[in-house]
Symmetry: C2
Subunit: 627 residues, 2 copies
C-alpha cells in the first residue's frame, strides 16, 4: 500500500450526533475529527454567538468545514430571488463571524421554483458573486427528492453553466446511491469544482427516499451501499477536501454522542482501508492507512462471569454438556473448563450472587499484539491489564456493549493456559462439544450498529444476512458475523423497540453455542441432569406438517428436544439449556453438511420455552426473583 | 340509533398481543373479547396441547373463531399439491382438537405457484372437500403482496369459480385499503360467502406494503384508513360473523398485552359507534352502541402535583404568570390558582420533595355522570373517589399514562370550586392568562397510540396533523387533539426511540400552556421574576433571515424571548418558564388570527434552552441533581 501524500481530513456533520451544539463539538473533537459541518438547526438553538462557536472550535482543534443547509434558493421569480439573496446575505454574515467559508445549497424543493436550468444557473451565479464578496464558496447539492434537480450530473450541468469560481458541487453518497444513479460521470467533474464530499451509508429499504434519508442513514460500512467504489471514484478525480459524514439516524440522534462519534470515525478509517485495498492508484495514494487485520483463527475461550449462587448452575451445565474442569487460575477465582477446542472460563468473582453474563470473549490471533494495535487505532478502549508476574499478558479491548475482547495465541510457548493449574479431574466426556460455534450477544438499541462495526473492523468479520424475528415479547433483529473460514461467529441481536418490560423474568439473555457432531447424545445427558430445555410437542407436529421428516428422526428429535432447520447447504439440529442465573444459557449445535444459519426461525419457540422454564423454576422455589 | 338485532361478536388475533399464548388469551378475555384468532406461531411455541388450549379458551369464555394462517397452498404442480394437502390435513387435525372450525388460507406467494385461476380454484375446491370432511371451512384471503392474487375481487372470482360450500372469503381491511382497491365490489359478495372479517388500520406510509403490514398496522381509528366506510360496506352485505382485529405492530408486540387488549376493544366499540352514526341502515342495525359523547366544553382545571421543595417554584411561576391563589381546599393540601377560566390546582402532597407532574386534567362536561358512564363503557379505569361529606363528588378515570381525568360542571350549584375556601388574596393581575390553551403530555412509547385513542373516544377529540421534530436529544413525534370548537386541546408527544438516556437532567417534561392576549406583558413579568426561559440571539437572527419581520417587532420578540410561528390562518407568539421541579413547565401562547398550530418547529430551540437553564441551575446549586 502506497503511503498517502497527505492524511485526508475527516469531518462530521453536527446533525449526526445527539445533544446541544456544545455536546456535539466536544464529542467530534474527542473522537479525533479534524472538522465539522455545522447544521443550521444546531447553531440556531445554541446560546453561543458565532464568535464563541468559532473560538470553541479553535480550542477543540476543529475546523468549520461547512455551514449547512441553505434551502430553496434557485430558479424562482424575481421578487422571491431578491428575498432569497437577502436571506443568503444574513447567512453569509453568520458564516463570516463563524469563520466558515463554504455553504451547502440544496437543490430546491419549493413549489415556487420553475424547471429552468438556465434560470437556476443564472441565479446561482448571482449568489456565487455575492458569496465571493465575503470570501465564501457555494457547494450546490442535488437532493434525491429535489423538485427539478435530483441527480448529481444534473447539478453539475447547472454548475458548469453558471460558471463562477465560487460555485462548485457537493456530492453526497446517499443522494446518489439511493437513486441508483450511474456514478461513472463523477469522473468528468474536475477536482477543483468538487467543493465538498458528504458520506453516508444506508440499508436497502423500500420506502420513500425522503424518509429513508432522514431516519435510516448509517455510517459507511454499516449499510448496503458501495461506499468504497463511490469514494474511489471521487478520490480519483483528485478531490482533496474533507471526507465528511452526514448521517441522519433515529438511533444515533438519541445515543451518547461520544460513542457515536467514535463509531463515525471508525467507519471512516475502515472505509479508507477498503479504498487502499481495492481502489484505483490515485485514490489509494490519497487515503490514510491502518495496521492490517491479522485473521482471527477461532475462539480461544469464552469467559462467563457468575455470582456465588449462579456459579454452581453454570458448572453443572458445563459438566452435563461434557466439558471437564481441567484448570484453576493461579491467582483468580477462575476455573477453566474444556473439551477439544471448546474452552470456557467461569469467573466466580461476580458480586451479585444470582448474576451471570458473558464477561469476555477471546479470539485466536497469529499476532495478538498487532491485533491489539489495530484495535487501538480504531479507537477501541484498551482495558487495563491485571496480571501477576509470570502470568500471560493478554491484550484486551472493550466491545461497545462492555464485553471484554482478548487476543490470544493459545499454542504459544507462554500461552494463557499456563496461568491455570491442572486440577487432575477426569477428562471430558467421550461425546460433547468440539469447539465454540458462536457467541450470541444481546445488544442495547444504541449499541447494535456500533457493535457490528466493531466486530467487522476490529476482528475482520463480515456480516451475514440480517434476520428479524417476531419473538413472543417483541420484535428482535439479529445480525450474525463471521470470518471467511467461519471459525469465529458472533451473533448480535437487539430488541427492536424494547422487549418485555411488562414480562417479569425475561431479561435479554446471552448465550454460548457449542459445536458437536452428536447432538442427540449431548441432549440425552442434559435431559438426564434436568438441564435440557423442553420443546413442546406442538413444534414437532408443525415440523411434521411442514417437512414430512422420517418418523424415526422426528421421534428422536421430539424425545431429545432438538430443534431443526435447513438451508440450501445442509441441515441444523440444536438444543438448549435453561437460563442459568440471570442471563446466560448454552446451546449445542450440530451442523450437517454446510448449513450456514443459526436456526433463527426457531428462536420464538426457544424464547417461549425459556419463559416457561423460568416460571416453573420460580414456582418451585418461591424465593423472590431478583430480576 | 336503531338497537342492533344482536350484539356483534368481537374478536382479536393473538398476534396483536405480546407474550406467550397463555398471556394473550388471558388478556383478550380480561378485556372482554368474545373470541380469538389463534396465530399458528403462538400455538406452535406453546406447551399446551390443543385440548388444553380448547379448555382454557372455554374457561375464559373465548371462542376460537379462526386458526391462521395457512400459506402457499394453491395453483402449484401436482406433487406439491399433494404435499400441501398432507400439510393441510395435519392442521385440520390440530383444529379438530382445538375445536376451531375456520382456517385462513392466504393467497400464495410461492415461486412454485403459477398464474392460473382455474388451477387455483380446482385445488382450493379439493382443499374445501377435505376440510368439509372435518367440519372445517376455508376462508381464502388475498394478501396485498400475493404472487398472483392480491386483490379481494380476484380472490372472490376464484372462490366463486371453485364453488364449494366449505370455501369462502376472508376480507382484511389492511390488504384492501392499503392498495387503494375500489371497495364497491364488496357489495356483490353474498354474506354467506363472507366467512371472516379482519380489521386493521394503518398510517399512510410510503413503503413496501409487506413491511407496512408487518410492522405498522394499528387498531381501527388509530390510523388513516376509512374503516367506518369499509365496515359499513361489509355489514351491508348481511355479514354477521365476528369483527376481528389482526394488527401487526412493533410497539404492541412488546407492550403489556392487558393494556393493548383494552385499546383493541375500545377501538372496536368506537368503530361500531361511527358506523351507527354514519352507516347505511342495514349496517347500523347490526352494530352495538355506546352512550353518546357529551361535548367537552373547555378545561375546568389542571392539577399540578408538587413535592415540598418544588411547590414554591410552581407557586412563584403561577404568581408571575398573573394567576392568583384564590382558594385553599377544605380537607386537602391543594391550592386553587386562577385568572379568568385558567384554573390550576397545586397539590403539595407529593412525597418526593423535588417532583412535579401534571397529576390531573379536568374538562367541563354538560353531564359529568354521562361522560363518566361512557368512559367506563370504553374500559377506562374508574378512579376511587376520595371526598368528604359535602365535597364535590367528581367522576374521574385514568388516562393510559396514569393522569387522572375528571369530568366537571364548574358552574353547577354544587360545583367543585365550593370545596375551596377563599383565601382573600389579591385578585389576579390585570394582564395574564385567560384560559388553558392546551396541556402537553409526554407519553411513554407504549402509551402513545393508546393515549390518542383514549382522548378521541372518551373526550370526543379529533386528532390534528401529526408532527415529527428532530429535537436535540432525539426524534420526538407529537399529535395534538382538539374538539370541534377548539376548547380542549391535548398535545401528546413521545420520544420515537427513547430520549437522552445519556443526557443527565433531561427527563420528558410535561407542560400547561395558557392562552393570553398580551404575551409581551406576561413575558416581561416572568423575566422580572427570573422565570422567563431565555431564547438565544441566533434564533432571532434566523427569524430575521427567513421572514424579514419589521425590525421593531423582532426587537420586542428578542427582548421578551418570544418565539414565533405562522400558518395560513394566522400567527403565534409564545414563551416559556424554565422546568419547575422535576418535569413541569408553563407556556404562554398568544394566537393571532386563526393560527391552529402549537409552534412545533420551535420545539428544538425550546428544548435546548431548557437544557441550558437546567445546567445553569445545577451549577448555581451544586447539590446533587436527583434526576
Amino acid at each position: 500500500m502506497t503511503a498517502p501524500a497527505h492524511r485526508p481530513r475527516l469531518g462530521i456533520a453536527t446533525v449526526c450526533l445527539s445533544g446541544t451544539l456544545e455536546d456535539k463539538l466536544d464529542a467530534a473533537a474527542a473522537a479525533g475529527f479534524d472538522g465539522v459541518e455545522i447544521f443550521e438547526n444546531d447553531f440556531v438553538a445554541a446560546a453561543l454567538t458565532p464568535e464563541q462557536v468559532r473560538a470553541r472550535c479553535a480550542d477543540l482543534g476543529l475546523a468549520i468545514d461547512l455551514y449547512q443547509p441553505f434551502r430553496d434558493f434557485e430558479a424562482v421569480p424575481p421578487d422571491l430571488h431578491e428575498a432569497n439573496l437577502r436571506r443568503a446575505e444574513h447567512k453569509f454574515d453568520v458564516m463570516e463571524r463563524l469563520g466558515a467559508d463554504t455553504i451547502l445549497v440544496c437543490s430546491t424543493v419549493s413549489p415556487d421554483s420553475v424547471d429552468d436550468d438556465d434560470l437556476a444557473a443564472e441565479q446561482l451565479h448571482r449568489l456565487a458573486e455575492r458569496a465571493a464578496d465575503h470570501g465564501i464558496r457555494i457547494a450546490y447539492e442535488a437532493l434525491a427528492w429535489g423538485r427539478h434537480v435530483s441527480t448529481y450530473d444534473h447539478s453539475w450541468r447547472i454548475v458548469r453553466r453558471a460558471d463562477h469560481p465560487a460555485l462548485g458541487l457537493c456530492l453526497d453518497s446517499f443522494h446518489i446511491l439511493s437513486r441508483g444513479t450511474d456514478t461513472a460521470a463523477i469522473r468528468v467533474i474536475p477536482a477543483e469544482k468538487l467543493f465538498f464530499l458528504q458520506l453516508a451509508d444506508a440499508p436497502r429499504l423500500h420506502m420513500d427516499v425522503l424518509s429513508w434519508s432522514r431516519h435510516h442513514r448509517l455510517f459507511p460500512g454499516q449499510g448496503a451501499f458501495d461506499l468504497t467504489g463511490f469514494l474511489d471514484l471521487v478520490l480519483a478525480t483528485g478531490y482533496t477536501g474533507p471526507l465528511s459524514l452526514e448521517v441522519f439516524n433515529d438511533v444515533f440522534r438519541q445515543a451518547d454522542p461520544r460513542v457515536a462519534a467514535v463509531d463515525a470515525l471508525r467507519s471512516l478509517l475502515s472505509l479508507q482501508e477498503s479504498v487502499a485495498r481495492e481502489g484505483s492508484d490515485r485514490a489509494r495514494a490519497s487515503v490514510g492507512g491502518l495496521p492490517s487485520t491479522p485473521p482471527v483463527e477461532g475462539f480461544a475461550f469464552v469467559e462467563i462471569g457468575a455470582g456465588r449462587e449462579a456459579e454452581p448452575q453454570v458448572a453443572a451445565a458445563l459438566d452435563a454438556l461434557g466439558l471437564a474442569r481441567t484448570g484453576q487460575h493461579r491467582s483468580k477465582p477462575v476455573a477453566l473448563w474444556q473439551r477439544g477446542s471448546a474452552r470456557v472460563l467461569v469467573n466466580g468473582g461476580v458480586e451479585d450472587p444470582g448474576a451471570t453474563m458473558v464477561a469476555a470473549i477471546a479470539v485466536e490471533s497469529p499476532d495478538p499484539a498487532a491485533s491489539a494495535r489495530r484495535a487501538e487505532r480504531l479507537h477501541a478502549p484498551i482495558l487495563p491489564r491485571e496480571h501477576r508476574a509470570g502470568e500471560a499478558d493478554l491484550a484486551a479491548v472493550a466491545a461497545p456493549d462492555g464485553t471484554s475482547v482478548f487476543f490470544c495465541r493459545t499454542e504459544a510457548a507462554e500461552g494463557w493456559t499456563a496461568d491455570f493449574a491442572p486440577t487432575g479431574r477426569p477428562a471430558a466426556a467421550d461425546v460433547g462439544p468440539t469447539a465454540v460455534d458462536h457467541v450470541a450477544l444481546t445488544q442495547q438499541t444504541d449499541d447494535f450498529d456500533g457493535a457490528a462495526l466493531f466486530y467487522r473492523t476490529v476482528f475482520g468479520l463480515h456480516p451475514e444476512v440480517p434476520a428479524e424475528v417476531a419473538a413472543p415479547f417483541g420484535l428482535v433483529r439479529s445480525l450474525s458475523m463471521t470470518d471467511a473460514a467461519q471459525r469465529v461467529r458472533i451473533a448480535l441481536s437487539v430488541a427492536a423497540v424494547r422487549r418485555g418490560d411488562w414480562a417479569p423474568g425475561v431479561p435479554h439473555p446471552q448465550h454460548v453455542a457449542f459445536a458437536t457432531d452428536d447432538v442427540e447424545q449431548v441432549a440425552r445427558r442434559l435431559r438426564e441432569r434436568g438441564l435440557l430445555l423442553a420443546i413442546p410437542d406442538n413444534y414437532y407436529d408443525d415440523l411434521d406438517a411442514r417437512l414430512a421428516l422420517p418418523s424415526d428422526r422426528l421421534a428422536s428429535m421430539r424425545e431429545h428436544s432438538l430443534m431443526y432447520d435447513r438451508d440450501e447447504h445442509g441441515a441444523f439440529l440444536h438444543c438448549y439449556t435453561p437460563v442459568l442465573g440471570s442471563r446466560v444459557f448454552f446451546e449445542v449445535v450440530h451442523r450437517i453438511g454446510g448449513y450456514r444459519g443459526y436456526g433463527a426461525s426457531n428462536a420464538p419457540v426457544r424464547m417461549a420455552a425459556h419463559r416457561r422454564a423460568r416460571l416453573q423454576r420460580s414456582r418451585r422455589a418461591p424465593a423472590p426473583d431478583t430480576h
